[in-house]
Symmetry: C3
Subunit: 302 residues, 3 copies
């Protein structure tokens, strides 16, 4: 697929600050990592690199996304390079990539999906093969992949992305003992409320609340194979990476970052903007903005 | 849904010690956590709380489950509160919740479930959409959710609950090297025997034995995203919480509690009633009743 | 199922060094662990055991796989034992087990599998119920179990084994921030290239690359519930056990062994033949052949 520089200019719109070089016949046809750049790659230079000028001059690509600190040198001119100047080259590249190179299935519900008659499905929703949806609400523009299970009482916002095999809104893991000492489930009848633009990774499980609701804030991104237990209140723009276990009834504020395979104990409060390290075992509250690592987790000193 | 106090009295039966207050017209219509109690909530007070009397007096609910230590004060009388006195209020609440508020699908096998002709399915079993069952035995009253895979040679007891996406009885992870140094699987032809009233969480995987059987005792509860490898012998009333990895050939006795994201090495013995801490990495036998934590796990001193 | 000793001799072929004892009417009909051996078990003795001669004499089995160090004593003769002498008894047992005792489904694509018209499926491939395959390549002899999701752009080699619920080639977990500070996905348009004879465990997730490819080398074996993130380059004969998290963009060389529930940070290099311990949290490069354990992981001194 050829994308002309004029198409790129049109797409970037107000984000484009300036264009250097002649772009009449130029086009790109791929994105690539730095080892695989060719003449038709849309290349880019991360703003924080020191030797940006040099990287651009040595790139095999004809067209690059760059920031305002770049000079259009005579070398670049001789190379007939086209520079698209934007504030944030990597962000611009991501937008170009998502628009021109990422294929998405058309909205629609696959005929094999089993959907409760009481479910409320918004507009432009995609639900893939072999997914099973109970009495749930799914907001417009959301994408539910294949083999997903969504239970009764789940409310999913707009533009969410739920990957294959995720299990959303199952009964939580809470037990009482009966007269003979055998455990039986405490009723798990709360809901699960998911905001807008939330991503839930493949085979990740998020439990409904016991008596109150489990809540996941907007723009939060959860990776594959995570377990989020009942009654958690998770804020917005939280990042939960792969294989994380979040036990029940925590409060996790906005902009927290939880690294892979970390464990959060239950009934703790993790303040805004905290970072929980890889494999950290969090057993206490973490004040706003702190980074905790280790088993048991402790504040990381710089 | 309105449930009259008379219905509750009838349901509680012998568990009810005494009723305080007039209950002729009273009813409840919800259960709630302490922040969301309203007039029609069935509220309860945990027996071990110190200020129980005060909690009950300030509850917005008209009807509460309480223990025998409560006095029916003039304040409670003025509030027209109804107190249902039981030995264990939380246990009673759980039973009321499970009976009146938890919806369960009717027994039956969804038409899309793929079941081997040689499978033996008990009475009142539910098997959900897109589950695939080999030559297995499933005991009466068991509930198998959607997208579950049960392989040949699995025996599941009565009243078990297997959540969506679980993979039960797959081949274990054991390899030999061939003449060229490449690994190939050691045959995994043992069975998997699961007792009665066992819960297996969403996307959890339990492998069949290699040459002997993997065994899971009755009333054991396993949460989401756990991996139980081949040849484990796990006792009764064991609690295995989220994201736990149990490697092969362990013996785990009754009443053990394994906290989230713990790892058990393989070929170890964990004594009756032990507690394994969150994120603990267990590399040795643990004597009966001890609590071990950390990486590597060590006995926790009080 | 009876398997005569003559059948075993025929199957072992060049691997058989010598036969002791008379085998005309002898047969075996099972494999078993040491606690369950009976007269018709094909028993074996691991070469490294010290008291091999004694073990063989006290085995209830009539037929055993043994190595060349064994003597056919008068006791064995009186017991009418048949010894099949091979270089590696456990390897031979595994081959016999896989050939005679492991049931495999016949090749074929289950009618419920949803396969893209652009997928390229080799010969003798099995694809189980409710699996969903995009524009992918699946090599001859590979076995894809049920409820598996394989996305566009995945290339799977020959004789691979992908267990139930695995999610292969999903979009990786990489985000940029937009102008309002909300995260959006960096395009994940690389491929996922899997070699020959690779095993991928149940509910394991392996992400496609962002701009380059994720690569899994031949004969590599990955257990259940692992997360392998985008851009990893994993070598041959690597063992990744249960619940392991491999973050993005690592290089993991041949013959590495990663124990359960370990975490690998991302952008690290793990040298050939390394061992990563159970629950280890790897944040740095590991030189060839070393064993690292702990949180954070450090070199294990002998």
């Amino acid at each position: 697929m050829k994308i002309t520089i004029l198409q790129l200019i049109d797409f970037l719109g107000d984000n484009l600050i300036r264009v250097y070089g002649s772009c009449e016949d130029a086009y790109i046809d791929n994105l690539a990592d730095s080892n695989h750049v060719n003449e038709y790659t849309l290349d880019w230079v991360i703003s924080k690199k020191n030797n940006k000028q040099e990287i651009i001059e040595s790139s095999k690509a004809k067209c690059l996304l760059v920031d305002e600190t770049i000079e259009y040198t005579s070398i670049l001119n001789e190379q007939s390079k086209v520079l698209l100047v934007v504030k944030n080259p990597k962000q611009a590249l991501a937008k170009v990539g998502n628009h021109f190179f990422v294929k998405k299935p058309d909205p629609g519900i696959h005929p094999t999906a089993v959907i409760s008659k009481s479910a409320k499905i918004g507009e432009n929703v995609y639900i893939g093969p072999y997914s099973v949806v109970g009495d749930a609400v799914i907001g417009s523009g959301s994408h539910i992949d294949s083999n997903v299970r969504i239970y009764d009482g789940v409310v999913i916002g707009k533009d969410c992305d739920i990957k294959a095999g995720a299990v959303i809104g199952g009964a939580g893991f809470g037990f009482e003992k009966d007269e003979e000492g055998n455990r039986f489930r405490f009723p798990q009848i709360g809901g699960l409320i998911i905001g807008d633009d939330v991503e839930i990774g493949a085979n990740t499980c998020i439990d409904r609340g016991a008596l109150s609701d489990t809540i996941i804030g907007s723009h939060t991104k959860i990776n594959n194979l995570c377990h989020i237990a009942h009654n958690n209140k998770i804020g917005c723009n939280v990042i939960i990476t792969g294989c994380v276990n979040v036990s029940g009834s925590n409060i996790i504020e906005d902009d927290v970052w939880i690294a892979p395979n970390a464990s959060i104990r239950g009934y703790v409060h993790i303040g805004k903007g905290c970072v929980v390290g890889m494999g950290a075992v969090v057993t206490k509250d973490i004040p706003e903005g702190e980074t905790w690592v280790g088993n048991p987790a402790r504040k990381m000193e710089k």
